[in-house]
Amino acid sequence: MADGYPLFELVGIEKRFTGTYALKGIDLAFEPGEVHAIAGENGAGKSTLIKLLTGAHQPSAGGLRWEGRPVAFRGPGDALALGINAVHQEVVACPHLSVAANLYLGDERARHGFLRKRAMLHEGQRLLDRLGFAIRAEATLGDLTIGQQQLVATARAAHRGVRFLIFDEPTGYLTRQETEQLFRLIRALNADGATIVYISHRLEEIFELADRVTVLRDGRLVSTRRTAETSERELIRDMVARPIEELHYKRAVPVGEKLLETRSLSGPGFADISLTVRRGEIVGLYGLIGAGRSEFVTTLFGRHRSTGGEILWQDAPVAIRREVDAITLGMALVPESRRDQGLCLNLGVGFNLALPSYDRLGRFGLVDRGAERVLARRQIDRLNIVAPGPGIHAEALSGGNQQKIVVGKWLERGARLFIFDEPTVGVDVGTKSEIYRVFADLLDAGAGIILISSYLPEVYDLSDRLVVFRGGRTVAEHGWKTAEVETILTEAIGA
C-alpha cells in the first residue's frame, strides 16, 4: 500500500469532444480502501469519467496519478494491468459461452496449449459458491437473467485480484435479491482491500454503501462529501443547482384546442399513461433513463403496438398501427438517436429533408427533381443548416446541423404535433438556442410539442406542463414552474 498517497487521483482533468467540454477542472482523489459514490444527472459527465479511469479515453488536459506516481493509459489494457476494472450496466461478455468460459475470458487456464476446461469449471464453480451466487458454472451466460450476468461480470472482475473496481449503475436491471447479493460482494471485495467506485442515481444505495460521495454537474465537480455528514436533500440540491448563464427561450403562446389525448395507454415498457397535448403548448416528459418515456412516444408513433388504453386525435379515437398512420394524422417524431433512427447518414441532406414527403413531390410515383431541390433549399435556409449544398451527405455535418435536418423534414411535411426525444443531446450551446427558437416558431404556428429530456433545467424551463415518469408510469404532473426542481428530481428518482 502506498504511504499517505491516495490510491488513484485525478488532477485538473479536462476532456473535450470536438470543442465541447465533457469534463472540466476535475480534481478528485480516491483513498485506498474506500467506497466512493459518484452521483449526477444524465449528461453530468459520469460515463466520461469512467472511461478516463479505465483507459478507454485519454484526458485532453490534466493527469492521473496512481499511488502518487503519474500514469498515462494508452488503452484499457494498461488500466487492467494496474488492477483497475469496471462492471458496466450493459453486460460486456460473450452470451454464447458458458459462465466458466466467461469468468476466464482472456485469462484461460491451459496446459501445453490445450484448455483445461474441467479445471476452469471446478474453480469457477468454487468462486461462484464462495461469493454466494446461485449460478452454475457450466450454464450458458445468455440463458441467465441480466442481473445474474451482472453478477458473473462482477465475479470475473473479483477473481482477477482487482484493486480498483468501478460499478456503473449496476442495479438498474437487478431484482431486490440480486441487489443484496451484489452489495454483499461489494462489501466483501472492499474488506479485502479493494477500492470501490460506485456510480448510481439511486441515492438510498449510495447512503447504504458509500463512505464518500462526489456530485458532478455539467462536467464539473460540485462537491465531495462524507455520506455520514450529508443528506439526500443536500445531494439533490448539488445535482440540480444550475449555472447562471443557462437561459432558455420561452415565448408565451395562447393554448388552443386539444391535439392528442391518451387514456390509460399501455405498451412495452410503460403502463397506464394518460396525458393531453394542445396546440401552442409544450408538454415535457421528465424521468431517468429507462423510465419508459421513449417507449411511450415510439408507441404513440406506431413503432410498437399498444397493449391497452386509447389514443384520441382531436377528440376522435384513432388506431395507430404503423408509422404512416401517425404521420398521416400529423405527428412527427424527432427520435432519440439521430445516427440510428433519424438520418440516412450516407445520403444527401436534401434527400433526408424530402424523405417523408416524396409522395407529394411529383405525380404517378415519379419524383419531380426540381421540386425536390426547392424543398431542400427552403429548409436549409429556414433552419440555417450549415451545409455546402443539398447533395452533401448527412454524415459530414455537425451534430446540431444533423438535428436540424431531422426537424426540417417534418416541417416540410406540415406536422402539427412534434415529439422531440432528447433533442439537445450532443449539440453545442448555439445550436441549442436555435432548436429552442424552432420550438417557439412551431408553437406560434399552432403546433403542439412533446419534449422528452433528461436534462431537468431544459424541460423545467420550457414545459407548459411537466409530466414525471418513473418505472414506466406517470408519477406527477406540474404546471409551468409550479413545483420546485428538487421536488421533481425527487419524484423521478423515487427517493
Binding site: R322, C344, L345, A387, G389, G391, I392
Partner: protein, 327 residues
C-alpha cells in the same frame, strides 16, 4: 433570412471527392474495357470478328440483366444468391411449358410470373420470418437447383419452337436482340432508381432502415419489390439463355449469381447498402464477359478467370473502403 452558408473546408471537399470517385470508377472501367478490347484485337485474330463480338455482347447482356436486378437488392444492403439457380429453373420451366404446347408469349409470361413468385418467397422469408438475406437466398439456391433437376429428371429438353430461339439469336436494326433486351431493362430500371419515389425509398431503406421506417416508409413493401425485381430479372435471363442455346438444361447458370454480384460490386455498388446505380453493373458485366471471352481466345486455362475475378472484387471493394469516412 441569413445568407445560407456556402461552407468551405472538409464537407465540400468530401462531397467533391465522392462524386469524383463514382465518375472516376466508371471512367476507369470504361478505359479498362477499351484497353482489353484493343489488346485482344491486336493479340488474337479471332476477337475482332463480327461473330465473336456479337457472341460477347450476347453473353454480357444476360449477365448485365442479372446484375441490374442484383443491384436493387444490394442497395437495400441485402444479397440474392439464388440468381443463378433461378436462371436454371426458369429456363427449364419455359422449355417445359412450350414442349407441352403453351404458346411462346404465354410461356414467357408464365415464367416471368414464376420469377415474381420466387422473389416473393425470398422477401417473405427475409421480412416476415426474419432470416438473413444470405441464408434465405442460399437455401433457395439449393432448393431451386433440386426442383429444376426433379422437373427434368436431369434430362435436356430439346426441340423448342424456332420462333423462341430467334428471340435471342436474331438482330433488329443490326443490333443483337439480346443487347436490345438490356436496354429495355436498363432504361426503366434507371428511371425507377433515380426518378421514382420507390427508388428514393429503396436508398433510404438501404442506408438506415429504422430512420426510413420512422419517416413513414413501408420498409417491407420496399424489400418485397427489390427481391421480386431481382428474381424476375434472373428469370428473364433464364428465358433468354434457353432461347440462346436452344435447349432447356436445369443446371444452366451455375455460379452466375457470383458473376452478377461481382458485376454489381465492380460497378460501384456497396454491399453495405445505399450505394449503386444502373450503368455500373452494365459496365461490370461487360468487363467480366470480356475477361471470360479473352481468356478462351488466348487459350488460357479457364480456371484462371475465376482467380482474376476474385482479385478484381478484392481490389474494387478495397477502393470502396478507402473512400469511406472512418468513424
Amino acid at each position: 433570412m441569413p445568407e445560407p452558408l456556402v461552407a468551405v473546408g472538409a464537407p465540400a471537399v468530401a462531397a467533391r471527392r465522392r462524386l469524383r470517385f463514382a465518375f472516376l470508377l466508371n471512367l476507369t472501367l470504361l478505359g479498362l474495357l477499351g484497353l482489353m478490347w484493343a489488346g485482344l484485337s491486336l493479340g488474337t485474330d479471332s476477337f475482332a470478328t463480327f461473330g465473336n463480338f456479337t457472341n460477347l455482347l450476347r453473353q454480357g447482356s444476360i449477365w448485365a440483366i442479372m446484375a441490374v436486378g442484383q443491384t436493387f437488392v444490394i442497395i437495400t444492403a441485402g444479397i440474392d444468391l439464388s440468381a443463378g439457380a433461378v436462371v436454371g429453373v426458369a429456363g427449364t420451366v419455359v422449355a417445359l411449358l412450350m414442349k407441352s404446347g403453351v404458346p411462346v408469349p404465354l410461356a414467357i409470361l408464365a415464367t416471368l410470373g414464376f420469377g415474381v413468385a420466387v422473389g416473393w418467397v425470398h422477401a417473405f422469408g427475409i421480412v416476415r420470418m426474419g432470416l438473413p438475406p444470405f441464408i434465405m437466398t442460399l437455401a433457395s439456391l439449393t432448393a431451386l437447383r433440386g426442383i429444376g433437376l426433379l422437373m427434368t429428371n436431369g434430362q435436356t429438353i430439346a426441340g423448342l419452337p424456332a420462333e423462341f430461339s430467334a428471340l435471342a439469336r436474331d438482330s433488329s436494326f443490326g443490333i443483337p436482340n439480346l443487347f436490345l433486351a438490356v436496354i429495355a431493362v436498363a432504361v426503366p430500371c434507371h428511371l425507377l432508381l433515380h426518378h421514382s419515389r420507390w427508388g428514393r425509398h429503396l436508398y433510404a431503406v438501404g442506408s438506415n432502415r429504422e430512420a426510413a421506417r420512422l419517416s413513414g416508409i413501408r420498409v417491407t413493401r420496399v424489400l418485397y419489390l427489390a427481391y421480386i425485381l431481382s428474381a424476375t430479372l434472373s428469370a428473364l435471363a433464364g428465358i433468354l439463355t434457353t432461347a440462346r442455346i436452344g435447349i432447356g438444361v436445369a443446371t444452366t447458370g451455375d455460379g452466375w449469381e457470383l458473376q452478377a454480384i461481382a458485376s454489381s460490386v465492380i460497378g460501384g455498388a456497396s454491399l453495405f447498402g445505399a450505394v449503386g446505380s444502373v450503368p455500373g453493373p452494365l459496365l461490370g458485366a461487360m468487363l467480366l464477359t470480356t475477361i471470360n471471352n479473352g481468356a478462351n481466345l488466348l487459350n488460357i486455362n479457364p480456371f484462371w478467370q475465376r482467380i482474376v475475378t476474385g482479385g478484381l472484387i478484392v481490389a474494387i471493394v478495397y477502393l470502396d473502403q478507402l473512400r469511406r469516412p472512418k468513424r
